[in-house]
Structure formats: structure tokens, C-alpha cells
Symmetry: C2
Subunit: 394 residues, 2 copies
């Protein structure tokens, strides 16, 4: 019997064998023709995954926080005003980061598990002249999803650039840079992009690039400075070598494989699959009597679920038992409610089998903790929801 538990946290996730094989293959020179072709393809495919026709892709060794830093350091000039649509821990982080680069930051906040209303955001936009608005598409700390389409449309009406932290969303939640008028979207490799951690990924649209080009002050962060990377990325996409820092060759080859998988599935099919998995997981938790951090179905993400522990069950009791039963889950992250909830990632490669195995492991964990419920309740609810979704889950 397999003795490896499924990695069902909100990143890193389960990765495909072909992606892992590319990662572990012998390393080529970063200026070899074969690698130049791989890197060039990955840049082109990234644009397709972000649904951007004319954005500039950036692929740089680093974590998701570096991707946020690439946006903040290059876009913000001291004195710029930024509005943070705050839905949790990672929205707080974006605000702190923008302040580091001299932005005057206003947060539009909501209670934990909720999201600011469009009216609240519009009121803030009316209150001052902002250059940039940030939106955390899915806040990994709470599983709250923002309405990026409406928010970006609103920002556009006020002439404000929209920056989407899509770390827990890109290639899972629907995110359409062109159609929605998103100016920057960013993510990290280990989430729905489905490549082990180590790559910061960002696509910057024309308005964002124009703001960058018109900067009067130098970018304060040397490593993140697009001035250094732009000619290199343009060179690789034109199938020429360039050098600023050594690109993470193995990770980029793995990225290229995963982007090919993603585009072969197709973005619309992928969005539908994540919606089905998200609904099924939430239906299972509800059937088991577990509450959730997001205060409504509308503001709950498709890429992850954040259930609350039932009365009498703690994370220290439950999570090791779920792991022993086959699924590795994550504890709480938001400081205000850290001990009250756990987190399940079901993004990227996850299929129906992974989800059912995870719900089954949660049932086993709950039973071992002495929580009373009819065995199979969660799994049955998940199966029924998946059947209703009529989605090809491979």
C-alpha cells in the first residue's frame, strides 16, 4: 500500500511526475539553445495562462513575496497613493510592502472572512487620488476570494492601476487580465501553476509598464529592478541569450512542462474544474457540520477551503490524524483566528480522487477525535456536488 499522504495544503501542492522529472533532469547551460527555447516558450505560455495578449512576463528566482516585491518596487514612487482592498494577512503584507517603497497606503478593511463591498471601495477611491489599487485575489490565510472583475472595472473608472496578488489564484480561479483590465497579476510557482516552490511569476500590462518607464526615481530594490531583467526576458522570448543573473534553469524547464499541461487542459476547463472541486469540498465540510472562515459562499475561493474546527476538536488533535489517514492539511494562518480553523488546498493538479481521499481522511480524523457524525456524510456530499457540476475531472 502506498504510504505517502497527499499534499493538500494551499501550496506547495501535489506535482505531476513529468514536472518533477523536468526539475530533476541534468542541468543545461543557461545560454544553451535548447534552454533558450524552453525559457522563450515558458514566457509565451505564461502570457496565455494569465489571459494577457500584450503583457510583459517576468520569471525570476524567488518566492511569491518576491513577485509582490517586483510589483511594488517597480510601480511605486515615493508619495504615490495606494489603496489596499484588504481581505487578510496577505493584503496586510502588500500594504506594508508598498509603504516600504514610499507609498501612502489606505486599507479598505472588512471583518475576518468577509471582503469590502464595492461601495466601500468606491467611497475610498472617491476620497483621494490613487495611483495603484491592490487586490488579493484569494487570501491564502482565510480562503476569501475577491471580485477582481468588478474591482478592476471600478479602478479603471477612477484611473487607478489594478495589481492582483494571484498567488493562490492564477491558473485556478478565473482571472482574465485583458478582459478585466488588470494591470499586473502575479503568482508563485507552487500554487495552481503546479511547479515546486522557487519561482516568482508576474505579468505586467502596458499601463503598468508605462508607469514604470516614466519613473523619476530609481527602483529602490536592486534585485527586483525591472531595468535589470527586462532586456533579459525580451532576449529569451526572442530566442536569444541574455545575462543578468543565472536563471533557475531546472525550475524554468519544469515551469514550461506545467504551463504546457495547463494550456492543454485549457483555461476555461481549468476554471470549471476548480469551481467544481471548490464547491464539492465546501459541500462536504458543510455536510459534516463544519463552519467556514469565509462568511458567505460568494466570497469563498475555489482553490482552497478554510473550515473551522468543530467544538471540542483542536488542530493539534485533528491534523496529525488526518495526515495519518492520507492527507496533509495546513493549520490556520490569520493571527486573529489562527487556532480556530484549518486549510485545504485543492488547486493545480487536484482531481476528484484527490478530493474524495482528502474528505475521507478528514472524516477519519474527525472520528478519531471523537466527533460524532454519520460516516461517509462528507464524501457523499462531495460526490453529489461533483456529479452535479458535470465537469471532466480526469
Amino acid at each position: 500500500m502506498k504510504d505517502r499522504s497527499l499534499l493538500m495544503i494551499p501550496g506547495p501542492i501535489e506535482f505531476e511526475p513529468e514536472v518533477l522529472a523536468a526539475l530533476g533532469a541534468p542541468t543545461n547551460s543557461h545560454v544553451a539553445p535548447e534552454f533558450i527555447e524552453e525559457f522563450g516558450q515558458a514566457l509565451e505560455r505564461l502570457r496565455d495562462v494569465f489571459l494577457s495578449s500584450d503583457g510583459q512576463p517576468f520569471v525570476i528566482a524567488g518566492s511569491g513575496t518576491l513577485a509582490m516585491d517586483l510589483a511594488g518596487a517597480n510601480l511605486i514612487e515615493p508619495g504615490d497613493r495606494a489603496l489596499v482592498v484588504n481581505t487578510g494577512y496577505f493584503s496586510d503584507r502588500f500594504g506594508e510592502l508598498l509603504e516600504r517603497y514610499g507609498a501612502v497606503v489606505t486599507h479598505v478593511r472588512a471583518p475576518v472572512g468577509a471582503r469590502p463591498t464595492l461601495d466601500e471601495v468606491e467611497d475610498a477611491l472617491k476620497g483621494a487620488v490613487y495611483q495603484v489599487m491592490t487586490v488579493t485575489h484569494v487570501d491564502t490565510s482565510t480562503g476569501v476570494v475577491a471580485d477582481v472583475e468588478e474591482l478592476a472595472a471600478l479602478a479603471r473608472r477612477y484611473g487607478v492601476l489594478t495589481v492582483v496578488d494571484g498567488v493562490c489564484s492564477v491558473a485556478g480561479e478565473a482571472l482574465r487580465m485583458d478582459e478585466w483590465g488588470v494591470d499586473i497579476a502575479l503568482t508563485a510557482s507552487q500554487k495552481a501553476i503546479s511547479v515546486p516552490p522557487g519561482l516568482a511569476l508576474l505579468v505586467a500590462g502596458p499601463r503598468a509598464m508605462e508607469k514604470f518607464r516614466r519613473r523619476k526615481s530609481p527602483v529602490a530594490n536592486y534585485y527586483a529592478d525591472w531595468t535589470n531583467w527586462l532586456p533579459i526576458l525580451q532576449a529569451y522570448e526572442a530566442r536569444k541569450a541574455g545575462y543578468f543573473g543565472t536563471p533557475p534553469v531546472n525550475l524554468i524547464c519544469a515551469l514550461n512542462v506545467s504551463l504546457k499541461h495547463i494550456l492543454t487542459e485549457g483555461m476555461e476547463a481549468r476554471f470549471r474544474r476548480h469551481r467544481a472541486l471548490g464547491s464539492a469540498c465546501k459541500a462536504a465540510m458543510a455536510a459534516l457540520g463544519l463552519g467556514q472562515v469565509p462568511v458567505s459562499a460568494e466570497c469563498a475561493a475555489n482553490t482552497m477551503t478554510a473550515p473551522r474546527y468543530p467544538a471540542g476538536v483542536s488542530g493539534n488533535d485533528l491534523l496529525p490524524r488526518v495526515k495519518a489517514a492520507g492527507a496533509i492539511l495546513a493549520g490556520g494562518l490569520h493571527p486573529a483566528i489562527r487556532a480556530e480553523y484549518f486549510r485545504i488546498g485543492h488547486m493545480g493538479t487536484a482531481n476528484a480522487g484527490d478530493l474524495l481521499a482528502t474528505v475521507n481522511a478528514i472524516e477519519a480524523g474527525l472520528a478519531a477525535c471523537g466527533y460524532a457524525f454519520e460516516p461517509g456524510t462528507g464524501v457523499t456530499a462531495a460526490v453529489r456536488t461533483l456529479a452535479l457540476a458535470q465537469v471532466d475531472l480526469r
Copy 2:
């Protein structure tokens, strides 16, 4: 017959199968006990590889330039004076980077292929009160090695912190943080550390950490800010989980394997092996009548060799032919002499067989370019030098 050429550039290099296997293994949670143990071990081993008893190790997703940025952004406060012991392209980069963080930078320069004398450096140190001196241990653009031991001793006499860019040296050239009084040493994974590219590695000694702790201004670079990473790295070393950004799990597992290999060989044996390989490669090039960028044997690195093309032979002619004969080499990088020389890396995992195969491929390439020499001259010189070195080259 194997149809894969050896990767003998100054990084990335040939990696061990066990390291690549760790890189390509299924990813664990970044807070799983097994990974916490691996990360903790890697941090402890890094200190041993840097020959530092009390330094703080940093392991962060990024390129070698991020490692330089970690040093510059955290150490420099606006108005600090920094002295750059300049031996090439990467010394220029360090100066530019320090200026980004507000340093007033003075370069002590030397002609391309040479290095400033200790007297020249001391004259500069007498001329102003500096807080920081940077030394590029091996400038990958020229293959010039700096005398870090003497330079660090000199800086100490003037109360100046020594920062060593060891990207092309750490775990290859002798570098002894404690014994030589080096305050920061840094590198990237893809060089003599022998792990595919994607990790910035740095060890900061007590005086450097003290300067950081006494900062009056915030660190200008958010991602590189030690304030964010220090508690996390301390937690992992104490075998506890911590979170700032998702650590690059697979790369860190691969790092831990390679550091174990390095320490099993032993640092002194490793330094001797690199000296033997460096001498043998240089003897081979000299026997073939090729000059070298470093102006003397004393200032030529052990981790790489930078031979000049012989008259009538260009890089476009030679390098593809060498590759076809079994070894991938790198072209020139220093802007002043880019077309005049090429670069051979012989660090990390390289053994006698790799070096002889590389010299043999260079001979084949030179012959195909019509260059006149007695076949076997280079290989024979290398073999004789290796025999004299009496080093176990596995």
C-alpha cells in the same frame, strides 16, 4: 555512446545524481517535520562549509545577485562609505548595488585580469572612514582570484567590515570566515555548492549582524530584509516551523544532500582538489600555447580558467566544436575583452576525468579550427600536473 556533453561552464555545473534526485522528489509541506529537519540540517551544514562557527546562515530563493542584495540592502545605511576591491564585472555590480542603498562607493581598480595590490587597498582605506569593503573572491568574468585572507586582515585593522562575494568560490576556493575574519560571505547554489540554480546563500558573522541590528533606517528592499527572514531561519534551525515566504522545499532538500557530500569530502580535501584541477587546467592551456586573462598564476582562480583564443581562432568557431567534442564551455563576459577569451568551470563535482575530457574536447575543437599543435599536448600537461598534485580526485 553517451551523447551528452559535460557542462563545464563557471556555473551551472555538472550535478550529482543524488542531488538531482532530491530536487525531483515529490514535494513535502514546508512545515512538515521531515522538511523542518532537512532545512535545519542544511543551515547547520552551511555554517560548516563557510568555516564559520557563529555566523547566521541565510538560504533564500533567488539568484547569486539576490545574495549580494541581501548583503547590501541589510548592511548599508544611506551615507555609509564602501570600498570595492574591483577585479571585474561582478565587482562593478557590487558597487552599483551598494550605491542603490545609499552607499558612497570608492573603487580600487586594476587593469582587466589583474587585481589591486594590498598597498593600493590600504592607501584607499587610509583616505576615508569606510564601513564596508567588498571583495569578489573569484570574478567569474575574468577568473581573477582575490587574496581574501590578506584583504580581510587589512580591513580589520581599519575597523571595516569585509563582505566576500564568493559566488564562484565558496566550497571550491579556500575561504575561512572565522580564521580570516570575514564578516559576510555569500554564494549561489549552482557553483561549487553543486545544486541547480535558484538559491541565494549567505552567512553573516556577528559584527555584520550587529551593524544590521543597529540600523537607524529601515531596509529599503522588502524581500531581502533580514528582519523578515531572521526569525524564520532561527526557527528552522531550532527544528520549529516558521513562515515568511514559502521556502523552495525541493532546492533546500537538494542543498542538504550536496552539503552532506561536501562535508564528507572535507573542506581541506576539497580545497586541495580544486587547486589541483585549477593548476592542471592552466597547465594544459599553457602547453597548448593559449594565454590567459589573469595576468599571473598568483591571481588566477582554482575554480575556473579563462583562456584567450589563439590567433586566428574565434569563439564562434571554437566553442560549438568543443561542445560537439563533449564539453560545454562559456564565452567571454567582461565587456572590455568579451570576444578575446572563453571560460571553463572546473568546480564542485568536477573530477580528473571531467577535466581531461574537457581538455581533450578543447584540443579537438582547436584542431577542427585549424590551429596547429601536437595532439595530446594539453591532456598530457594536465595529467602530469594532476600526478604531481598527489590529490585524491576520486
